[in-house]
């Protein structure tokens, strides 16, 4: 338990700090790298929560694909690779205020709702019942329609993105 909590503390701290750096750093490429840190930390947290498959997908899709996409984006838009003073707009204060209002509300509501509730201890059977296989079964039975829909979504997004992004 303690170990888990320690891990959690470490990962959470890493995630939060990295996330803050993502939104504050003055270097676009750094921001992308900090994002990797966040995503990886979150993936690790998924493992803590016995969702290994999701963790794996998180690494594969996010770190493997999305961040790479971002880096392409950074390059293609010729962003300054070094520090750029011009990354923020003039409404940081307001943005922070909005974030704080949201954060305050959520924090209060979450504490009100869950207080000191603990996550249940999982037996091996539980872990197995939450593994890849049941997830796969669920996707291809109950969530078949969303699955198919997502496939078309990806196709459409792919074609559409190409149409828009290509130089002609």
């Amino acid at each position: 338990m303690v170990l888990q909590n320690a891990f959690f503390g470490m990962l959470a701290a890493l995630a939060v700090v990295s996330a803050l750096r993502v939104v504050t750093t003055r270097n676009v490429v750094h921001a992308a790298l900090y994002l990797v840190m966040v995503l990886a930390s979150v993936a690790a947290l998924f493992v803590l929560l016995a969702a290994e498959f999701v963790a794996a997908v998180q690494i594969l899709v996010y770190v493997g694909a999305i961040v790479v996409l971002f880096l392409f984006g950074v390059m293609l838009t010729r962003a300054q690779i070094g520090a750029d003073l011009d990354l923020d707009n003039g409404q940081r204060g307001l943005a922070a205020l909005v974030a704080l209002v949201l954060g305050g509300t959520l924090t209060w509501a979450l504490i009100d709702a869950f207080g000191d509730d603990k996550l249940p201890e999982l037996s091996d059977a539980d872990v197995a019942a939450r593994g890849v296989r049941p997830v796969g079964d669920a996707i291809f039975s109950t969530y078949l329609v969303p699955f198919e829909v997502v496939s078309i979504l990806l196709l459409a997004a792919l074609i559409g993105a190409i149409v828009l992004a290509r130089r002609d």
Binding site: N89, Q91, L94, A95, V98, V101, L102, T105, A109
Partner: protein
């Protein structure tokens, strides 16, 4: 004829349409139709009068045909020929029949039973409105006098109006006017009277404004119509109140119920006052008399017909007809003083005084008419019902005569200004002169001219019924009348001719009516003399149910009154003769005496009443109150929200454009402006910056959630 009296108004009504339709194409411009129609009407009226006189009298205390005992019979009789009534009348008749009335102690002579026919006009489930004719002595007397004078005026006009560009219209309106008077006279209901009443008002308007190219004439026409209509408010209200308290428009029934004491006294009084307001308007009593002198702007025959003999007496006629109401409401039998008598009395003196300062011969006659109408009203107020009617009757002849005479004069001198354009006409226009003299004598009340008899009866009534004060008023009035007529005759016919050209006597169509009327003016008074035709023949002929039910007192002819009044007249003539014929008028009296000057100014300005009406009341209505109301309309009402908009204007940049497009007035505009301005303000939220939109989105989501959390907990 008495059963089909509706034929008479129909004749003139048809004549009206015929003249309108084909008059212009006829050789005499439609006047022949009018003359013929009036001739026919005169014949029919005469036939009706004869038939009426031939009717059997019903003794007042004879038991009624119905089982009702005692006084019920009078009620029955008062109700007229109910057996002949048409459908729907039954219910009212029953109600009316129940009313009994304690007869006056003194015995009344027998009266003739009036002839009444009623037909359903329209009905509602709660009541039925009837239309019908009512013929009694009053009716036939009026019919006769109206027909005769109208006929003569028609004849007079054929020459007098010759060459007028609206000759045809003139005759059409004369016909229509006569129709109106007939309708008034024969109607059996108050509502119908209103029809005739207003129809006459319309024709009076049209005929006063006959020469409408001149603004003064149209002003006078408008004034006449509006003034009388102001009084008519009272008529509307009065008829309404009587309808509700008596449950009917039927005049006979209303009288019966009023005299039977069945009607609530307060409502009756209010109704009577309201009706009297109409009388004041129509019969030109103080304070609504001012229209009548102005109405002289119309052609002179019109003045003779409408503003002397017929329409102006409609008010008097109304009181005569609804005498039960007035009798009961003002308690006329009690003596002392009452509104009617006071108004009439005051009007006599006021108008007579005004007649002194006029230069215009027609104006003199107009004020004289007002004054004489005052006599009639006063007579009704003092309970001299027969006298009032009789004065109405005689006055019609001699005043029409005087007016037509003045018309004849003006025909010769092309002016009405006595001081500037007349004088010495007696030799140039002998017929006119002599007839005018006869008319003046009749008006002044010299024995045995018509005016003497009727005026004498009024004075007698005032003196005998406990209205001694009004006896004095009447005598003073007679005195003044004689004086101003002396002045008028002198200025017109004596002295040097002051006008231009050579005046000649008028042709036959003008002089013949003058002669006819002067014959009547001499003789007609005799029909009610105590010594001829069995004594007070006229009075006994016209006395009707109201007269009887009310128990209007009847008085024997009194030589004392006759002598006193004759003395007054003679003295007045003597003074007048000295003043004018002998030029002993204290010249410069107005220069020397400030009181006299003020008095003259007051009279010359007609007591400033016109100033009050025209400048202050009407002027303020037009300019002040109406403009104020309109201002209120535009500025306050339309502006309430406008004001909101004005303050909001700074908010929106486009508001000026909005205003420029002319959207200024109106509550809607104001809210429109407000809406537009707030739209402009709200637009600024739409900055175009996507991240500001983002802030709005996230912040709204957060606040919405937070608000709902608080709201639901």
């Amino acid at each position: 004829m008495l059963d089909h009296i509706w034929v008479i108004p129909l004749v003139t009504f048809v004549s009206f349409w015929l003249i309108i339709a084909v008059g212009k194409r006829l050789p005499r411009g439609g006047s022949e139709i009018g003359v013929a129609a009036l001739g026919l009407a005169l014949v029919l009226s005469t036939v009706a009068a004869v038939q009426w006189v031939d009717q059997e009298k019903v003794p007042s205390h004879e038991p009624a045909a119905t089982a009702d005992a005692g006084h019920g019979a009078e009620a029955e009789a008062g109700h007229g020929a109910e057996a002949e009534s048409e459908a729907g009348h039954g219910a009212e008749a029953e109600a009316g029949a129940e009313a009994g009335h304690g007869a006056e102690a003194e015995a009344h002579p027998a009266i003739r039973e009036s002839v009444e026919h009623n037909y359903q006009w329209w009905s509602s489930s709660s009541f039925t409105v009837m239309v019908g004719t009512h013929v009694d002595g009053v009716t036939v007397a009026l019919l006769f006098v109206v027909s005769l004078i109208s006929f003569l005026v028609h004849i007079f006009s054929t020459n007098y109006m010759e060459g007028d560009k609206r000759f045809t219209h003139y005759f059409a309106f004369l016909s229509l006017f006569t129709t109106g008077m007939y309708v008034l006279v024969v109607s059996s209901t108050t509502l119908q009277m209103l029809f005739g009443w207003e129809l006459m008002g319309l024709c009076s308007f049209a005929l006063i404004g006959h020469w409408w190219e001149e603004k003064a004439n149209t002003d006078a026409a408008l004034k006449a119509f509006l003034t009388t209509r102001t009084g008519d408010v009272g008529l509307l209200v009065g008829i309404t109140i009587l309808f509700w308290i008596a449950g009917t428009f039927n005049i006979a029934e209303i009288n019966e119920k009023a005299l039977a004491g069945d009607l609530p006294q307060t409502a009756l009084l209010v109704a009577a006052i309201a009706l009297f307001a109409a009388v004041i308007g129509k019969s030109a009593q103080f304070p609504l008399h001012t229209w009548l002198p102005d109405a002289m702007a119309g052609p002179t025959p019109v003045s003779a017909l409408i503003h002397a003999a017929t329409m102006v007496v409609a008010g008097v006629y109304l009181v005569i007809r609804l005498y039960g109401v007035f009798w009961e409401a003002f308690d006329i039998g009690a003596g002392g003083v009452n509104l009617i008598a006071a108004t009439g009395g005051f009007t006599i003196l006021m108008a007579a005084a005004l007649a002194f300062v006029q230069r215009d011969i027609k104006k003199v006659l107009a004020y004289s008419t007002i004054s004489q109408l005052g006599y009639m009203v006063m007579a009704l107020g003092v309970g001299a019902w027969t006298a009032a009617l009789f004065h109405l009757f005689t006055h019609a002849f001699f005043k029409a005569l005087l007016f037509l005479g003045s018309g004849s004069v003006s025909h010769a001198v092309h002016s009405f200004d006595m001081k500037k354009d007349m004088g010495g006409l007696r030799s140039h226009m002998p017929v006119t002169f002599w007839t005018f003299i006869i008319g003046s004598l009749a008006l002044a009340g010299f024995f045995p001219f018509a005016g003497f008899w009727s005026k004498d009866e009024i004075l007698l009534g005032a003196g005998s019924n406990g209205y001694e004060f009004f006896l004095v008023v009447g005598l003073v009035g007679a005195f003044m009348t004689t004086m101003y007529m002396t002045r008028c005759v002198y200025l017109t016919f004596f002295g040097e001719y002051r006008g231009h050209g050579h005046p000649h006597e008028s042709p036959a169509p003008i002089t013949v009516p003058l002669v006819v009327l002067s014959v009547f003016s001499v003789l007609v008074g005799l029909i009610n003399s105590p010594w001829l035709f069995g004594g007070e023949w006229f009075g006994h002929t016209v006395e009707n149910e109201v007269f009887e039910l009310a128990g209007v007192p009847v008085h024997e002819f009194s030589p004392a009154y006759a002598l006193v009044s004759t003395a007054v007249v003679v003295v007045a003539f003597a003074i007048g003769y000295v003043l004018w014929f002998r030029q002993k008028l204290p010249s410069g009296v107005t220069e020397r005496s400030s009181i006299a000057r003020a008095g003259y100014a007051l009279l010359a300005n007609k007591y400033y009443l016109d100033v009050l009406y025209t400048d202050i009341i009407v002027g303020n209505l037009k300019r002040g109150v109406a403009a104020g109301a309109y201002w209120f309309n535009r500025v306050v009402l339309d502006g309430i929200v406008n004001g909101v908009g004005t303050t909001a204007r700074v908010v929106g940049d486009g508001v000026y454009r909005f205003v420029d497009r002319g959207l200024i007035d109106g509550a809607v505009n104001g809210s429109g402006i407000t809406a537009d301005a707030s739209g402009g303000a709200l637009r600024r939220l739409q900055t175009g910056r996507v991240q500001q939109y983002g802030i709005m989105l996230f912040l709204s989501a957060a606040l919405l959630a937070l608000g709902l959390v608080i709201f639901t907990s």
